[in-house]
Symmetry: D2
Subunit: 367 residues, 4 copies
């Protein structure tokens, strides 16, 4: 059974390989009458696209999106939206050396064994290039969420052991501006400089490094998320863990919360008569991360995502070939020394897809 | 849209409230001809059941499972299995005091807002009592996995700040025996004693504490997991995050891996001619946690789950009532001072459900 | 992959075998705050229950429904509803004679081959007894539809070659009253008498006969149904064809419409200023059966369902045993001489389930 | 909730509007290692394409299919297949006259009401042009079914009141050859001539006529179909009813079977020692249409589909405009006088999709 679809009511299906003619996505279930701002969608893709700075892969892709269906006179019609992104800068010959070998910590061996064949060019379907389609779809989801006032902001909160200070009390607009002022997408300028230096140095060594992306969601209405299996944070977790290279997810108090006592961790509720919509409560602390019983409670939702270091390094490595014999894989190709600067757009996109889905799912759950 | 089902081909739907007549589960998609060992299923439930020791809730439930359908002459027939667990020891009057107030860090407010009403008795559907149904279904999944030789072992790896040493090199049988020799379900006896003392002390203070559960999966065949969204670890992550009180999930190198370099983190592949099934490879390290590109690679799968402290404490707390006014919730009721000893059975059950589903999903993916 | 669930948002999963302890259904996705009238649900079941007249099977089942979950203080809570119907009058020994033989035109052989075993007692899961669970779930769906003013009415329109006149211009209340005045559930008294005589005669011969059930749906809002695959009539068709013994489905002009010309068949639209809700149109004819492009247009929806004669007859028949040898199956057991009088309740239930699902699906399809 | 996907394991999602840049389909779940014969796929599309004879619409589309993903070195890889069919001969100005009016028996009014806007050019998404994507996907399904020896053959069995004699005892190859020897796709030459004359005459009158398509499936293994809701014939019925203009579906004895007695209708089982695969049985008659209890029994599967006359006629018709006022729609545009000759390819495609899905679904249902 295939797993190329995500979401129940706002449902996407992505397709395409790294070195095929194009990648793309169908969005089925987007409400009609949504204004489609193509510039916004392209701008989202530009945050993820390769070749944007010295600390990203040098593959050159304009990632120009084409609309094949679902939009008429600038608005969605309620029929499937199809967004196509042609591949422009494939260099398949760069991959001839891995045709018969399994790259360490890549998906070569598992795909080959599962499917009995594989498109080895650029990792085929296992390439993170697929996430461009997610960003395109996530941009549509963001347009839908904007109609409900929901804001999403992700940023690089760690590269290797360098951690950024918490700036999440600032308004989203300001955070975006600070984040986009540097190429590593950390809103704190001093930390950003350190991160960039670290990545650049590691790149020159032919090595890679991991990092973390943090994300906040604001103005989420009370009530999104469905017990018991489709808890909002469970769907956010799956969304994040489905992104290439992600090895961990935590929300609210996260792993640190498991060391706390209930009397510290409980979020005391206080009346909030002035909140819009007359919601009766807010909490003094927010260890719950804006979600209780799997359902949003109106407080800020926040979570953190851990990315392993990119597996492609510019160093030769021992491995095994498809015949099961010892072999060596050469260190070459075009790849990111650290994935998190570009992953910020992907994390936001996947969060937007989860929220858009649950926004629609929440319709009709009560008379 | 409701979220009470989990899995695609091995699919469960749970039902029931904490203080209703019963909870239960339908398993749809279990292959026919599987021998149903009822003693095994009951034994699994016994590991999760309340009242099993001084460090668990004192609610007394025998959690005796009844089979309503799907089994004939001791074997599954391929039709839906229905397992029913009657509730025996409800004390609904214990909850009269929360009928009109929202307990801090519980789901009272979010359920009330989402659904416009709620069964306040024992938390209704948001109660962790629902997980008994998961354990029953997980036991069936384990019976299926046994036919493929797959083993699952979870244990308490941390309570508060007390961390257990890594014993995961031992055989599963031995680990189970060591784990079941104490009431906290940590296989290391010395650490277990410390954990029990900590929980017992906290219980006497009317407080609670969080913890962590670690899990390993052995003998998983190569090829389970479906790109791109239904990666094996993404489905495991969702499964774990859907358990009450879970705030974090990491697999393989996890959060620590995000601080590493690619040259350290890559799992070098070596020939493995002697492995059963003639799989050509194993890896020297296993930072990948047995999963590459979302698909199992035949190495050991392992992950860790963080549980927040239980929200019900034996202390009065400020809160808000359903009219939006300041109120107080009394510290009373029967609850666990620490959830992880009983959660071990739930983590194993959810892992088994994910693997059983992907075992079936892997059929027919190649000619 | 199992197929025991129906519907996407208003989703049911049925379980249970003819001679197991019980049958039942989980309804997941029913909106909260719906008043659950248990008498109404029981009354619906009573229309389907066995033993209700001389022209139905003499198996005695009270079909008393029990609520296991999802209702609190008389209203749905938004959590899964579980309805249980214990089996009371199994006579499994009646089926010893078919343990090793395949009954003609039954599912014995196909179940045995597909699953490798089967519960032969009363047909196990393939028994039409399963449809009692559908009727219980359909009763909940009807309660939901009533809140939207939607009415459903089915009746026996043919038994063998005896066809009833079209009385569908009458109000639903009146039709129900006329239908329930006789045991064959045909609203036209003269035809009903003929039908009863036919069935009774056939029963005495140890034979069975087929028939047809017609159904109308009134006050359906414009807009239900989802292109392109989940057209309203496609889902109605699947629903009906999933009922035991159904061999045909047609809506609107149906098979006869395929002999017509476009200039006759087109439903001319005229203004309808006086209709409630200010819908701008009605059509002069209704060959479209209230559905255009798979979406309801506000006119009456109607369709017809063909049931084959019941396969169990009181005559010995040649067959094959499980060893593949020629054998004979004896004519015995308790069965309906004609299924349509009881099927009326099932057709209404399945129609209600489709409409309830599409009523919820229509939420959130437009901004 | 959108309905543009069909199938569970062999799952397609179609996209595109009549006058957009392209239509297409994603196939997710096709097994890897299937050889993709592009000529075969194009040949299937050619049977459905417009402009192929004097009795079809004169819109000129080459319907040339492009592969965007999922195929590598001539074989499927197990990743999503994307097939794109550019639109070439749109004449959107032909539809300016219906921008503000609702065409009788079209989906204009229902789409406009449901979605709040619509792409009026050529019917937008409601156009039967969408079925070209189904035929492309169905061709892939047929390639899969061929590996299991399953054959599908559909033909025009009626145009208006002209019915073809039953020729279904002939081999499929011969039937195909006879069918493709004439433009109406009826294998009986004499009847074909009458049908062509009828359609041509009706076309000259500016009118249209309905018809019927019959389909047989041979060499289907025993065991396809899933009780209780996803019976093989229920899924076939839904598939057929989802095709534009279909108003009825019957299988096996169909509507006529409802007039029969059980003693006539029961299919007596006899030993069949010589059948391939050692299946123990065949039946003397086949009123069951090859399906018992929703599961294939190894006999020939057959069904019949009723198509209403095309709604677009070359005559002016009274109607209502979007303001709710009386209006007239002019008789113009390019359309089929009778849809069944082209629908043969669509019926085969949808049948192939159902069988491919159930072929995969049957994996893993038993140990």
């Amino acid at each position: 059974m295939a797993g190329n679809s995500f979401g129940q009511l706002f449902r996407i299906t992505t397709f395409g390989e790294s070195h095929g003619p194009a990648i793309g996505v169908i969005i089925d279930g987007c409400p009609s009458n949504l204004e489609v701002n193509e510039n916004f969608i392209q701008a989202e893709l530009d945050k993820r696209k390769p070749g944007q700075s010295k600390i990203t892969t040098q593959r050159k892709e304009s990632d120009t999106v084409q609309f094949l269906s679902g939009v008429f006179e600038g608005k969605t019609t309620g029929t499937p939206l199809t967004l196509l992104i042609p591949n422009e800068d494939q260099r398949s010959k760069d991959y001839a050396h891995v045709k018969d070998t399994y790259r360490p910590s890549h998906a070569d061996y598992t795909y080959q064994t599962k499917y009995g064949n594989r498109d080895y060019r650029g990792g085929g379907r296992s390439s993170a290039r697929e996430t461009a389609a997610r960003v395109a779809a996530g941009a549509i989801a963001k347009l839908l969420l904007k109609t409900a006032g929901i804001e999403i902001f992700a940023h690089v909160s760690a590269v290797g052991k360098i951690e950024a200070p918490n700036l999440e009390h600032l308004p989203v607009d300001e955070l975006v501006s600070m984040r986009e002022s540097n190429i590593v997408r950390c809103p704190d300028p001093a930390t950003a400089t350190q991160m960039i230096d670290l990545i650049d140095g590691i790149r020159k060594e032919g090595d890679t490094v991991g990092g973390k992306v943090s994300c906040v969601i604001r103005n989420c209405p009370v009530g999104l998320g469905d017990p018991v299996f489709d808890k909002l944070h469970a769907d956010l977790g799956k969304a994040m863990l489905s992104i290439n290279a992600v090895h961990g997810f935590e929300y609210g108090s996260g792993f640190a919360g498991s060391e706390m006592r209930g009397s510290e961790h409980n979020d005391i509720i206080v009346p909030a008569p002035s909140k819009p919509g007359n919601e009766p409560l807010k909490t003094l602390t927010n260890f719950s991360g804006g979600i209780q019983g799997g359902i949003s409670n109106g407080m800020e939702i926040f979570f953190r995502v851990a990315f392993k270091p990119v597996a492609t390094i510019m160093q030769n490595q021992a491995t095994v070939n498809t015949a099961g014999e010892a072999a060596e894989v050469q260190g070459k190709g075009r790849h990111d020394p650290c994935v998190v600067p570009r992953a910020v757009a992907i994390v936001e996109a996947m969060a937007a897809l989860v929220l858009a889905d649950h926004l629609l799912r929440d319709k009709g759950v009560r008379l």
